[in-house]
């Protein structure tokens, strides 16, 4: 017998254990072929079998070599619980089971000497979600009739762009008592109040990205919903930059400036302006951490779009060379505004933080009225890759922070001048319309969402630690990978169809929420329409407490 090697990794140390039933397995090999993580492998076992052949019991033992499926016992190729093996097994012979006794967080650090990285979103499950303790509780009845979601028309649009204070509008009446405009005003686009949030073409597989882009085009051109999609950092295919569909894209620039030389080069060939520019300062899922695209995902087309070699691509945690809020406003916004000749609104995205209100105040007080949107990203949002410690232990919830920013604007009489867009775990329960609506009543002009879009496409990751391997480039659903075999698991048309259908359903649900409060346009800041069943939530958000 060998000496027991105490520190060897065993299945019991890993987050998921494979349950395998050899008696049902027909050795078709599907599971092993499917597992993108190589977390299971075929193995031969020596089996002892006792049998008796005569009329009387005459037990004999026979040894034979039997092929079986076994779990890899490694911190590199460990099972993520994605369930793909279970999905493909024709005989229900294999499935992953969550391992309560996992030692993964400890042994990975001990063996790797490096911080743990993963994708997905925060997995710290706590108390009830704030938004779930809030209801739309102000129902129009006798005093003001509610509207009819089917019959009435609704204006479900939100501004992207800087809105001038009324007294700064360059309007004056002419002799016919008509207001005429005598100066330029900042560009503002009125768009659907849900933006498909910034997921880069490096983080997503090209087929996923194509599916999302297709959905956006369809929603705009066939369904009349002006939904916009943000490119994420990392550029856009040149073909799209030169196409008319660019008008549905919000181009993002982050600290790595990836892809921007291509965008700049494509400018003379653009036939449409992009819907906007989003300067990403921070991200809610990993505040203080820059973007991270691991070399495994830097495929050839990514190298081409971004103009980089195959290597880990790290965006610095901040924009080098920007020292202050004022400076970022001046420098970046002015350069983008002038690049697009003041036709394209420029907004900023920051991670929700204890300091968000100060940043917002600085921007809203800027006398040049430059910033065209404040995208506030809270904890609970998703990411393609981050250090687990950032994902799990940094960040700030979005709800109270959004409310604080709105109320800061109210105090200054500047509400609405910099549109507020919120994100961070919205739609986490699958019900984005309700979450978005509540955020809007608390003061958001609109919301943006990323992780939920992945789920529409078929992502099986969840907040309890299932999968979340988006950083590895081995996404079993073909969503966050650049491996051709894996990407081909995903049908872009099906992705587009799911997204379109989800948005159509959500649009209906928005109306179902607007109608009872008697509003035909978005109730931005109508916190009187909300009630909270939790005292602390009610107090903090300044809404009515009910019980």
């Amino acid at each position: 017998m060998e000496t027991m090697r105490l520190n060897d990794v065993t299945a019991n140390d890993l987050p998921w254990k494979i349950k395998y039933d050899a008696s049902r397995c027909t050795m078709c090999g599907s599971c092993v072929a499917t597992c993108s993580f190589r977390a299971i492998l075929p193995k031969v076992e020596r089996r002892r079998m006792v049998f008796s052949e005569g009329n009387f019991p005459e037990p004999k033992a026979r040894f034979s070599a039997v092929p079986v499926i076994r779990q890899a016992k490694s911190i590199r190729n460990y099972c993520r619980g994605c369930g793909m093996c279970e999905k493909v097994c024709p005989n229900d012979a294999i499935k992953p089971e969550r391992n309560q006794d996992t030692r993964h967080p400890v042994i990975t650090r001990c063996l790797g000497g490096d911080s743990i990285k993963r994708g997905g979103r925060k997995n710290l499950e706590g108390s009830t979600r704030t938004l779930d303790s809030i209801r739309v509780g102000r129902i129009s009845q006798m005093t003001d009739p509610s509207l009819d979601a089917q019959r009435h028309t609704f204006d479900l649009l939100a501004p992207f762009g800087r809105i001038l204070p009324p007294k700064k509008l360059p309007f004056s009446p002419d002799v016919d008592q008509q207001l005429v405009t005598n100066a330029l005003t900042p560009p503002v686009n009125w768009i659907y109040p849900v933006i498909i949030g910034d997921m880069s073409i490096g983080a997503l597989s090209w087929r996923m990205w194509e599916g999302v882009a297709m959905a956006v085009a369809y929603l705009n051109e066939e369904c009349g919903l002006p939904v916009r999609m943000c490119s994420g950092e990392g550029g856009v295919p040149v073909r799209l930059l030169k196409s008319k569909y660019l008008k549905y894209m919000i181009l993002q620039i982050a600290s790595g400036h990836f892809g921007w030389n291509r965008i700049a080069n494509a400018m003379p060939h653009m036939v449409e302006d992009p819907a906007g520019i989003l300067i990403k300062i921070g991200q809610g899922a990993k505040p203080g951490d820059g973007g991270l695209l691991q070399a495994g995902k830097v495929a050839e087309h990514i190298q081409a779009i971004r103009g980089v070699p195959k290597a880990d691509l790290l965006s610095p945690p901040n924009h080098q060379g920007l020292y202050s809020i004022e400076e970022s406003v001046q420098k970046m916004f002015l350069s983008f505004n002038s690049a697009f000749k003041f036709r394209v609104p420029v907004a900023i995205k920051v991670a929700a933080s204890a300091t968000s209100v100060s940043v917002f105040n600085n921007l809203v007080r800027d006398p040049y009225n430059i910033v065209g949107g404040f995208f506030l990203d809270g904890i609970d949002g998703g990411t393609g890759a981050a250090h687990e410690v950032s994902l799990d232990h940094t960040g700030h919830p979005i709800v109270s922070k959004l409310r604080d920013c709105y109320l800061a604007a109210v105090t200054q009489g500047r509400q609405g001048q910099i549109p507020l867009w919120a994100a961070g775990g919205l739609g986490k329960t699958g019900d984005l319309a309700a979450d978005a609506f509540k955020m809007i009543a608390l003061g958001a002009n609109g919301v943006f969402t990323g992780k939920l879009i992945l789920q529409m496409a078929g992502c099986i990751g969840n907040d309890m630690g299932r999968c979340n391997a988006c950083n590895t480039g081995l996404c079993p659903a073909g969503i966050t990978t650049q491996e051709p075999q894996l990407a081909h698991r995903l049908d872009p048309e099906k992705v587009a169809q799911n997204i379109v259908n989800y948005f159509l359903a959500m649009d209906q649900e928005f109306k179902k929420l607007l109608a009872p409060i008697g509003n035909s346009s978005l109730p931005v800041g109508r916190s009187d329409a909300l009630v909270a069943t939790d005292h602390a939530v009610a107090d903090r958000l300044q809404i009515q407490h009910v019980c």
């Binding site: 129009s140 005093t143 003001d144 009739p145 509207l147 009435h152 028309t153 204006d155 649009l157 501004p159 809105i163 001038l164 204070p165 009324p166 007294k167 700064k168 509008l169 309007f171 004056s172 009446p173 008592q177 008509q178 207001l179 005429v180 405009t181 005003t185 503002v188 009125w190 109210v410 105090t411 200054q412 009489g413 509400q415 609405g416 409060i517 008697g518 509003n519 035909s520 346009s521 109730p523 931005v524 800041g525 109508r526 916190s527 009187d528």
Partner: protein, 368 residues
């Protein structure tokens, strides 16, 4: 549902006409009060049109507080009138001890001041009076403005009329424009300041309905102008927006409609003036009203108008004869005071129009 009414005439009319206009719509009353604003005054006030008149209900102490303040600022009283009250037992009225209508001359240092300066002084003075009278409810300063009188009280409108002897017409207490409402503010507390019509610097507004964007309006208006205070009723927001759009921004009246009930984005896109309309919808988004209501408004130049919400969820009708135009929530009110008019010319405004009655009684329908 509240009922509102307004009468504008070539001749001086007595408030009894306004009471008649409202009385037939009685089912809308709930005895929570009666209020009216008279503008373009006749009778005993006619010679003082250019001088501000203070309309106030108060205690004896309140009179002293107010007079001290006015005196200190330098206002000189030139005329004083108190309605003779008819305090018969059993009337449903929550009367104050004194009702004061006093006309003042401007302080000496303001006599030659610009009109605008005087107007700011009048507002500041009224706000000061209001603040000083507020503790212990010593009084209510409703308006302090040239050629304008405001009367408000809590109780049964019919009894309030009796109390102030308003049922019998005379030619001492008259005006060419009277706006009135016979129910005040049953959604919130019944307080005197909550009764429409509301007045601010020559602008008057009253409304029938619900302002579901009340909180948004209020939060925004609070920071716009020092005169936008109180908010005891969600309908005050209609007045403040009117004042802001017409006076503060200096925009023509028809843009008021674009602010309170903006066109849908699809419609704006079809318009030649889309740039302006979009700019308005954007910058004044927090002044949009989004509930069922009808508004009657009055401008300093005696122009009167009415418009309603974008879904026409509250009724209103405009009727006229040769000398008089009346606006009323229900046609029965107009039938009462203008029985011989040509009914076919009655206007039932739609959700996208503003009916405007100019000072020479021309009735126009403006399409939004």
């Amino acid at each position: 549902m509240c009922r509102i009414g307004a009468i504008k005439s070539r001749n001086y009319i007595h408030p009894s006409m306004a009471l008649q206009l409202m009385q037939s719509q009685q089912k809308g009353h709930d005895n929570s009060g009666f209020a009216m604003v008279m503008q373009n005054l006749g009778g005993i006030f006619e010679p003082y049109k250019h001088l501000p008149t203070l309309s106030m209900a108060c205690t004896d102490a309140g009179i002293k507080i107010a007079e001290d303040i006015l005196h200190e600022i330098g206002f000189h009283r030139v005329m004083q009138w108190a309605p003779e009250v008819n305090d018969v037992p059993g009337l449903d009225i929550n009367a104050m001890p004194n009702y004061v209508f006093e006309t003042f001359d401007y302080p000496r240092n303001f006599r030659n001041a610009e009109q605008k300066e005087k107007e700011e002084l009048l507002l500041d003075t009224r706000l000061k009076l209001r603040a000083a009278l507020e503790p212990n409810e010593e009084g209510f300063a409703y308006s302090f403005w040239p050629d304008v009188i405001t009367l408000k009280e809590i109780g049964d409108p019919r009894d309030i009329g009796t109390y102030f002897n308003l049922w019998t017409a005379n030619d001492r207490f008259t005006a060419k424009v009277i706006t009135a409402q016979c129910r005040q503010n049953t959604n919130y507390d019944i307080v005197r300041y909550a009764a429409h019509p509301f007045h601010l610097q020559g602008y008057t507004a009253l409304a029938n309905g619900e302002n579901t964007f009340y909180l948004k309006n209020k939060e925004y208006q609070q920071g716009l102008h020092r005169g936008y205070i109180g908010f005891e009723s969600d309908s005050q927001c209609f007045l403040y927006t009117l004042h802001y759009v017409h006076r503060e921004l200096g925009w023509p009246l028809h843009y008021y409609k674009h602010v309170v009930t903006p066109l849908p984005f699809d419609d704006i896109e079809q318009r030649e003036d889309q740039k302006q309309l979009l700019g308005i919808r954007q910058s004044l988004a927090h002044l949009e009203i989004n509930g069922p209501n009808t508004i009657i408004g009055l401008l300093p130049d005696n122009t009167m108008f009415t418009c309603c919400d974008a879904k026409k969820l509250r009724p209103v009708v405009v009727g006229r004869d040769e000398d008089t135009v009346a606006i009323s929530s229900e046609v029965c009110g107009i039938n009462e005071i203008l029985p011989d008019r040509d009914w076919e010319t009655d206007i039932y405004p739609n959700e996208r129009e503003v009916v405007v009655i100019s000072d020479d009684l021309e009735v126009q329908r403006w399409k939004q």
